[in-house]
Amino acid sequence: MPTSDYDPACLPDLLPLYYRRLFPFSQYYRWLTYGGVSKSYFQNREFSFTLKDDIYVRYQSFSTQNELEKEIQKMNPYKIDIGAVYSHRPSQHNTVKSGAFQALEKELVFDIDMTDYDDVRSCCSAADICSKCWTLMTIAIRILDRALREDFGFQHLLWVYSGRRGVHCWVCDEAARKLSVTARSAVAEYLSLVKGGEETVRKVVLSDPIHPFISQSLGVVENYFNKYAIVDQEVLASKESVDRVLSLLPEDVRKELLVHYQNEKNPVNRWGILTDLVNQKREMSSKKGGYFEKEIMLQYCYPRLDVNVSKGVNHLLKSPFSIHPKTGRVSVPIDVRNVDKFNPFEVPTIRQVLIVRFKISSNPKHGGPLGYSLLCEELDKSRADEEEDGIKNNETQSAERRKIRDYKRTSLAKYIKLFDQFLDAMAHTRKGEILKKSDLQKEF
C-alpha cells in the first residue's frame, strides 16, 4: 500500500486520544441496542479485544454505553471484534452451567479478503492492494448487495472497509440476526460460484439453465471486465497469463486460440476472438452448457467469500470504527450508492484523523508523551476559542458536545454520517413494525 505517515509504534499514544475523542460510542451503542426491542441485547453481546503485545481477551460484555466507553478507554485495544448475543452475559459465562451458555443471535456477516484472489490478480499479492485490484471489491459489493437485498429481501446492510485488504458486510435485519447456522451456510453457498482449492484449475462451472442470480451477477461483472481484467490486469498479454486463461478452456478451443494469438497481440482483440469462438462453438453444439467465456469472467472477478466466516453464529468479526493495527486505517462504512468512487487509500488513518482535527505536527517524532500533552493543550485552547453557545451545561453534556464537535471536524465526519443514516433507516423500519403490530391488535 502506498505509504501514509503511519508507524504502528505510535498506536499506544494515539489510541487513547482516538477512543477519548473520536470513537462514536453513542452511535455504536445505538446500533447494538437495536431500539431496545429485545431486553439485554446489548448486555449479552460478546466483544473481544486485542491488546498490546498480541494479548487477546474474549467474552467481554458491558451493561451500559458508559461501561463500554470506560473499559475501552482504559484498555486502549489495538483491535475490537464483535461476536454474538448470548443467552447470558459473556463476562459471566464461567458461572453458567456448561451447555447452557449459547450464542443466540448475530448479524449475518460476509468477509471478502483480497488474498483469496491471489491466483487471479497479477498486480499485487498477499496483503498488498492497489487501485487496479480494488475493483474486485467494488464488483463484490455490487453483486452481493444486490443479491442480499433483491433475492433474500434484506434491507439493512452495513458495508465496511476492513482497513487493509478487504471489505465486510453486516446484515442487520432482525430476520438475519435470527438465522441458524444451517441457514447462514445455505445463504453463503447460494452466493458462492468460485469453488475449489489449489488442486482445482477450473473453479467455475456453468450449466443450463443459468439461474437468474448468475445472470444478474454476470451483468455486473461484464460492466467491469474489460477495464479490470483485460486492460489493468493484462490477463491476455503475457504468455504466462494467457496460458492460465486458456487452461480453463477445452483442448480444441485452446489450440485454435493459440494459433490466432500468434498474429493478434492486442489483448482487447484477443478477448473478442475468444468470446466469438466460444459462442460459435456453443451455437453449433447440441450439448448443453459451454459457457466458457462467462466462466472465465466469473473466475477472474466473481466475489470469493469464506463460508466459514458467515456460517458461525458465534464468529467474531472486526468492529466498524476499529483501527487496523498494521495500516492505521479506520474501519469505515462504505457508501454503496457511490461504491465506484470509494478509494481505500483515501480512508483516514488514526494519525490523519487526529492531525486534521488537532493540527498537530505531522512529524512522527511528535508521537511521544511530550507530543501527547502538546495535543491536549491544543485541544483545550481551540475549544476555548469556540464557545458556540453561552448556555450553561452540566459536565456530561459538555463532554458530549465536545465529542460531537471533535468528530464533525475530522475527516471521520462523513463516515459517521453514513453510519447515522444506516441507523436511522433501521429505526424507521422498527417504527413501521410497531405500527403494523398495533394496527393488527387495533390499539390506539
Binding site: D118, G153, K195, I210
Partner: protein, 509 residues
C-alpha cells in the same frame, strides 16, 4: 409407552385415524404399551434399515434408480410400510396397519438411543431424512397433497399473473421446468428459511426473501420441516433421558443401539506415543491415505497449513498416536521454518493444538474426522489442501499426482472410474490395494485412521483375517460395478437375515 408420562391415552386396538397415511412426521409419540420383545425387535429392524440407508447413500447417488430399487427391497424385507401397500387403500387391514405401527414405534425407540450426543443425533437425522425423502417421493401427487394437508403445511400459491411475470426466471431457476409446467403446476411461495436445501444448491428462484417452489419439488420443503422438528425433538428427548435410562430393562439395549452405529471412531488412542516424529515422513508415503499424504506434503513444502488442513491432519495424527507434546513439537518445528517465529506459534497456533487434544476451552476431546465428514463437510477453497482428493481434486490433477506416486495405468483407470461414479471411499480403497500390492483390502474404508491401522497391520507382517460381516449391498455392488476390481470373494454373508441374538448383530463394525 409407560415412561412418557402422558396422562392422555389412546384406546388400545386399531385406530384407523392414527395411521391413516403411510407416511408421518412422527409428531406424537406412541401411547400404547409394547412388549419388551417387540421393543427390541422393532428397534433392531429399524436400525438395520437406517444402516442400509447409510450404506446405499455412500455406494450410490441418492435417489438414483439403483438406490431406489435397493431401498425398496430393504423396506419390503424388513417389513416397513412400502409403496405397494399405499396405493391399495383396501389394504389398511392388519398387515399394513401393523407396518405403520412398527414404523411409528421403532422411530421413537431409536430417538432414545440416538439423542445423547451431537454425532449420534446428526447421524440419526441424516438417515431418517434420507429415508423420508425416498418414501415421500414415491407417493403419487394425490397422496402428497393429502400428506401436506394432514400436517398443516400451508404455503401460499402464486397467482397466474405473478406466474406470467416471473415465467423466465422460474424456467431458469429449476431444472425440468418448462413453460408448460408453469402453466400446469401450482407454485408455492415459501420463506427462504423453509427451503434451505434448495437455496443452498441454487435450485430455486428467490425474490424478496421468498422461494418459489413448484409442487413437484415440495418434498424439499417438507424435509426441511422434518429435520427441524426432529432436531428439536431429539434435544427434548435428551433431557428426559435419565428417567428412561434408569429403567434397567431398557438401558443395555439402548446402549448397544447407539454403540452399534459409532463403532470405531478412533477417539480412544490405542497407540499413544508409539509413533515417533521421524517416522512420519516415511509413514506418509506408505501408510497414510491420500488425503493425509497430500496434507503432509503441503505442510512440508509450505511450512504452513490453513485451519481446515490443520484440523483434519492434526486430529488424524492424534488418532495415529501422537501425544500432545509430540504434536506441539511437530507443528512448531515446521511452522518455524516458514514465516512464523516460535513466539508467534505459541501465541497463535499452540492454543488450537491443545484445543484439539481437549486441553482448552470446553475441553471436548475432538475425534479424528471420518471419511464421511471429510467428503461431505467444509470443502476446500483457494489456498486449502484439506478435503478428500478423490472428491475435491480436479480429475486431471489427481491423475497426475497418482502417476507420480507410481500407480499403474490399469489401476489408475479403475480409480478414476470409481471417482466418476462418486465412489470416493472405494477409490481410496483401490489406492490402498494398489500401493500395498494386495488384491483385496479386506476392509470397508470409512475412516482415514482405519486406513492407517490396516496399512500398518499389513506391513507389520501377516494379514489378520478379520471377522467381518458386511451388508449384502457391498458385495453386490462390487460384483456389478464397471470398474474391473479384482474378483472379490463371494459376497460376504449377512449373518443377520434372521433375527439372531443381539450380540452377533452388533459385531459387524
Amino acid at each position: 409407552m409407560q415412561f412418557t408420562r402422558r396422562t392422555k391415552k389412546v384406546a388400545l386396538g386399531a385406530n384407523p385415524e392414527l395411521y391413516g397415511h403411510c407416511l408421518q412426521l412422527y409428531g406424537q409419540p406412541p401411547l400404547e404399551s409394547v412388549s419388551l420383545v417387540q421393543f427390541e425387535t422393532f428397534a433392531v429392524e429399524r436400525l438395520k434399515l437406517l444402516k442400509s440407508v447409510e450404506n446405499l447413500g455412500v455406494s450410490y447417488v441418492k435417489m438414483s434408480d439403483d438406490y431406489q430399487k435397493k431401498l425398496s427391497t430393504e423396506l419390503c424385507s424388513l417389513n416397513f410400510p412400502h409403496r405397494t401397500s399405499v396405493e391399495d387403500k383396501n389394504q389398511t387391514g392388519s398387515t399394513e396397519y401393523e407396518k405403520r405401527r412398527k414404523d411409528h414405534i421403532s422411530h421413537f425407540i431409536l430417538r432414545l438411543a440416538y439423542c445423547q450426543t451431537e454425532d449420534l443425533r446428526r447421524w440419526f437425522i441424516q438417515q431418517e431424512m434420507d429415508l423420508f425423502r425416498y418414501r415421500f417421493s414415491i407417493l403419487s401427487a394425490k397422496y402428497k397433497t393429502e400428506f401436506l394437508h394432514r400436517n398443516n403445511l400451508k404455503y401460499d400459491t402464486i397467482s397466474i399473473e405473478e406466474k406470467k411475470t416471473l415465467k423466465d426466471e422460474l424456467i431458469n431457476s429449476s431444472y425440468g421446468i418448462s413453460g408448460a409446467t408453469i402453466a400446469e403446476q401450482e407454485f408455492y411461495r415459501v420463506p427462504f428459511q423453509d427451503a434451505l436445501d434448495l437455496v443452498r444448491l441454487r435450485k430455486v428462484f428467490l425474490q424478496a426473501g421468498y422461494a418459489y417452489i413448484p409442487h413437484q419439488d415440495i418434498v424439499t420443503i417438507v424435509l426441511n420441516d422434518f429435520r427441524t422438528r426432529l432436531s428439536k425433538a431429539l434435544a427434548l428427548t435428551a433431557r428426559s433421558l435419565p428417567a428412561v435410562q434408569s429403567d434397567e430393562r431398557l438401558q443395555p439395549l439402548l446402549n448397544h443401539l447407539s454403540h452399534a452405529y459409532v463403532g470405531q471412531d478412533y477417539s480412544f488412542q490405542k497407540n499413544i506415543g508409539k509413533v515417533s516424529l521421524e517416522q512420519i515422513d516415511p509413514l506418509s508415503t506408505t501408510s497414510f491415505p491420500l488425503c493425509m499424504r497430500q496434507l503432509h506434503k503441503a505442510l512440508r513444502e509450505q511450512h504452513h497449513l490453513r485451519h481446515g488442513g490443520r484440523m483434519q491432519y492434526g486430529l488424524f495424527l492424534k488418532g495415529v498416536g501422537l501425544t500432545l507434546e509430540q504434536a506441539l513439537q511437530f507443528w512448531r518445528a515446521e511452522f518455524v521454518k516458514g514465516k512464523v517465529d516460535s513466539e508467534k506459534f505459541d501465541k497463535a497456533y499452540a492454543y488450537s493444538i491443545r484445543h484439539m487434544f481437549g486441553k482448552e476451552g470446553k475441553r471436548t476431546d475432538y475425534t479424528p474426522y471420518s471419511c464421511m465428514k471429510v467428503i461431505l463437510s467444509n470443502p476446500p477453497s483457494q489456498g486449502d489442501y484439506h478435503g478428500c482428493p478423490f472428491r475435491h481434486s480436479d480429475p486431471e490433477l489427481l491423475k497426475q499426482k497418482l502417476q507420480s506416486y507410481k500407480i499403474s495405468p490399469g489401476g489408475l483407470v479403475q480409480i478414476l472410474d470409481l471417482v466418476k461414479g462418486m465412489h470416493y471411499q472405494l477409490a481410496c480403497q483401490k489406492y490402498f490395494e494398489l500401493t500395498h500390492s494386495v488384491e483385496d483390502a479386506g476392509f470397508s474404508l470409512n475412516h482415514p485412521n482405519q486406513y492407517f491401522t490396516e496399512s500398518q497391520k499389513l506391513l507389520g507382517g501377516g494379514k489378520e483375517l478379520k471377522k467381518e460381516v458386511e451388508p449384502p449391498q457391498r458385495g453386490q455392488e462390487i460384483a456389478g460395478s464397471n470398474a474391473q476390481s479384482a474378483p472379490t470373494q463371494s459376497p460376504k454373508v449377512q449373518a443377520l437375515d434372521k433375527m439372531g441374538d443381539l450380540e452377533s448383530f452388533f459385531l459387524d463394525e
